[in-house]
């Protein structure tokens, strides 16, 4: 097979040196501008008044710092051929499982909001291993699923090992307890499994089992059943568990179509819990109105569109699954966050990617987008595959997949 017949651009795509998806970068940039702005607006009151922070810009400065680190991470990972991760997926998984154990088991984990989600390592900023677990699990599953091929449809070779792996990670995250992250992880993994070609009967059975497990989880833990009760009737305990539901509804509802204006949120004055983190979308709704909330939803819809476009044009299974996993994760996390803030689903703590304040979440999201952008540089899509079947083009995808397969597995 000769590359002489291919255009230069096409050659670059083939070698993973095509231009990254600038549209996707643009979407992220707009989200960042909005996010940094809203984090400042939502946090300056708390930052100003609390003796813990001393400065109005406490959260703004930190958020911008994390954005800077994140952008650099994204730009670096964008250059790294995503195939290189394949050999690190198993050790990465081992490390993340250990870290999750450490968070739960040791005193290194410092508790916030009644849960053990952070891990402090010496002078480094505290990290949230559950955030990193999202990316590591997607990398691992993409690699694993891409190698299964048709065996994926097999119960003992496909569905059961997948369920065990998923159960292990979500279980550890749940034990922190971090239901929001566990839910996002499970949803992303299920998407991957589905896209990869899961057996439909197994998939539906697994879905039912998962739903039952979710219901059990909600009912067994007192604070979760309280949250569900509050979701169904927030007025029952308006100053307790119903508080944040009522307050975020007030924030969104009083925003109207055009909003109260940038910086004019009232609810951020201690009414709305976690205004600059999990509930930032409510502040957007209050200050920028329906126009603002629709813009955010539109931006995430575009992000999903560009992400899945890269997915469908990925040259091999691993790339495709990796892109699908990352896109599904970011999309579902965003939609879940919005669903929680609009009290469409019961409350759980979850951040709005690229918008909410938060170091670990920001860094991991950027890393994921960096990887996704790298996949976008390898675009060939379905056309060459069709051509391959017509015999006009070499099976680029299968070649790469096979070579990757051979180089590692054999």
């Amino acid at each position: 097979m000769s590359m002489r017949f291919l255009s230069k651009a096409y050659k670059n795509q083939f070698q993973g040196k095509g231009h990254p998806d600038y549209a996707l970068m643009g979407i992220i940039a707009i989200l960042l501008v909005l996010g940094v702005d809203m984090v400042y607006s939502a946090s300056f009151v708390i930052a100003h008044n609390s003796p813990l922070y001393h400065s109005d810009t406490y959260f703004l400065v930190r958020q911008m710092l994390w954005v800077g680190i994140g952008v650099v991470t994204m730009l670096v990972l964008m250059q790294v051929d995503y195939h290189k991760y394949q050999r690190f997926t198993v050790p990465g998984m081992v490390v993340i499982i250990l870290l999750l154990f450490v968070v739960i088991a040791t005193r290194l984990g410092h508790s916030a909001y009644g849960a053990q989600r952070w891990l402090s390592l010496g002078p480094l900023p505290a990290i949230q291993p559950s955030e990193f677990a999202k990316l590591v699990l997607i990398l691992y599953l993409s690699n694993w699923l891409s190698r299964r091929g048709e065996r994926l449809k097999d119960l003992s070779n496909g569905t059961i090992p997948f369920a065990i792996m998923l159960g292990l990670i979500t279980g550890l995250v749940l034990m922190q307890p971090d239901l929001g992250s566990a839910f996002v992880i499970a949803l992303s993994a299920v998407c991957l499994f589905f896209i990869a070609g899961a057996d439909l009967k197994h998939f539906i059975a697994g879905g039912i089992a998962g739903t039952i497990a979710l219901v059990m989880l909600a009912l067994t833990e007192a604070y979760r059943s309280q949250r569900i009760a509050a979701f169904l009737d927030p007025e029952q305990d308006p100053l307790g568990v119903g508080w944040h539901i009522i307050q975020s509804n007030i924030a969104l509802g009083s925003g109207g179509i055009f909003g109260l204006g940038l910086g004019a949120s009232r609810q951020k004055f201690y009414y709305l819990p976690s205004a600059h983190t999990d509930a930032i979308f409510a502040v957007i709704g209050e200050e920028l109105g329906l126009l603002g909330t629709m813009a955010v939803i539109g931006l995430f819809a575009l992000l999903a569109y560009r992400g899945y476009k890269a997915t469908m044009k990925a040259p091999d299974s691993f790339g495709m699954l990796l892109a699908a996993g990352i896109t599904s994760w970011i999309t579902f996390q965003a939609l879940l966050n919005i669903a929680v803030v609009t009290s469409t689903v019961p409350f759980t703590g979850i951040t709005l990617p690229f918008v909410s304040y938060g170091g670990s979440s920001m860094l991991v999201s950027f890393a994921a987008i960096g990887i996704l952008l790298n996949v976008s540089r390898h675009q060939v899509g379905f056309v060459p595959e069709k051509n391959r079947n017509k015999g006009a083009e070499p099976a680029i995808k299968s070649v790469r997949a096979r070579s990757a397969h051979l180089s590692q597995a054999e």
């Binding site: 589905f194 896209i195 969104l252 009232r266 709704g285 909330t293 469409t344």
Partner: protein, 575 residues
Amino acid sequence: MHELEERRWRFYTLFTVIAVFILILIFRLFYLQVIQNSYYSSLAKKEHWREETIPAQRGTIYDTNGHVLATSVGFESLYAITNQIARPEKLARALSPVLGESETEIAAKLATKQNAPTLVKAYLPEEQADAVRKLNLWDVYFQPEFKRMYPEGSIAAQVLGIVGLESQGLTGIEARYNDVLAGKPGSLLAERDATDDEIALSASTYSQPHNGGSITLTIDRYIQKLVEQELEKAVGQYKAAGGTIVVMEPRTGAILAMANRPTIDFNDPNLFAASRTPMYKNAAVSDAWEPGSIFKIITMAAGLDTKAVTPDTSFNNTGSFAYGGGVVRNVITRLGPETMTQTLQRSSNIGAAFASTRMGADAFYRYVEAFGFGQPTGIELQGESPGILRTNKTGNWYPFDLATNAFGQGISVTPIQMVTAVSAAINGGILMKPYVVKEVVTEKERREYHPTVIRQVISPQTSKTLGGMLVSVVELVEGGQVRLAKVPGYHVGGKTGTAEIPTKEGYGSSATIASFVGFGPADDPRFVMLVKIDRPEASPWGETVASPVFRAIAEQLFTYMKVPPARAVTQNQGG
């Protein structure tokens, strides 16, 4: 191809799920932000806009010479929303040295887990409040509050009255003049954050508080303290249930002192307990009692003024006096001729009945009513009783009542009525309206109260004659025994009373109310004083219980009022 088709199908399924999810969220947001917009806007307004009351400073009550009796001082009280405190123990540790309370004490207050303001410490002095502020604590806040202060202590407690926890007058002058004293609280309607601090995003509406006006009483703190002190002593000494002393300026009707026992302590932490409420009332105006012999002053005034009797009118005391189906007897009877002066000196019931029956019911009751009995005096104090007076023109009256009323039985009077009537009897015959408020000053006006004449009850001549008779009562020396009300160096007049307390069964019980009403100096009376001691156990008699109290107070009053001693009176005690 099959693989590819399946993959496409799976992608489209995923896209559909995401699209449906997005659509649901769009509908939800449209519902919240467009359809429910006005509902949530009003909810937000209700939540954010809160009105804060800015308390007005309650006015001051002064004594007649401008000394402060009650005033309100601004303090800052420390509060916390206890269910929002992150680390109560840490907070308690920080506050302990500044507030001067133990850590456990403070921690107990912080541990209540209330979602409402909880008082940590009330009325912090300025330095202490500043010290707390310096700690830069996040969980506690200050609330400006006024505290009622009483620089002279709890004197004239029932006259001043009690101020409730919401700075509202509950009794006494504080209640009667609450409109003047309370002022008008201001308000601040502002947008607030969840911790109740103002948000500077929109203009707030402020209305300034108007501080309360001040009141100057006719009470003289020196005389009041003297009276309180002597009353306290007497109640203890004679093991009495209580007592009342009222001092009035007879020319004007101004109250110079008014004290009651038992009394309240303004700083009593249990001031609002049910056990204290019976002591709130001002017995000097609210409690009517059968005055007994002191009422003979009134009978004699009426008799002299109608000319039914003169001081020298004499009758033959036979030991009993039958009238209207009843018989009047004396406690100790001296048989034989008795003049009206001797009637007063000996406190003869028969003599008093002789006088009242001689003038007749119409005349007697006309005078009794003219002296103000049977109706409230109209003094600016709360809960005044009219007393009980039955006359030949009202129901439930028997002719024998004319005889018994003459020496103060079958009639109930209040201390303020008695003092007012005796003032009229000895001041030249003019009934003055008693008053205790001299001046009211508000933001708008300054109102002065002047003595008010109600009526001429008896002629000046009668008044003078009666005064002389009453001086002779005090100055009478019998068997070498000087009357206990006698103030050395001065002429004073007066009359004792020992009233049996009527029960359902009649006058059988041994409990009495001992009293003395007197005035001085005799030639130009500066004060009329009623001393009333309830249920003294050590001795039942007005002469032994009430007279010494009168003398002790009168003696010091003369000095305080700079009344020169009467000429030659020291040698001529018999008068």
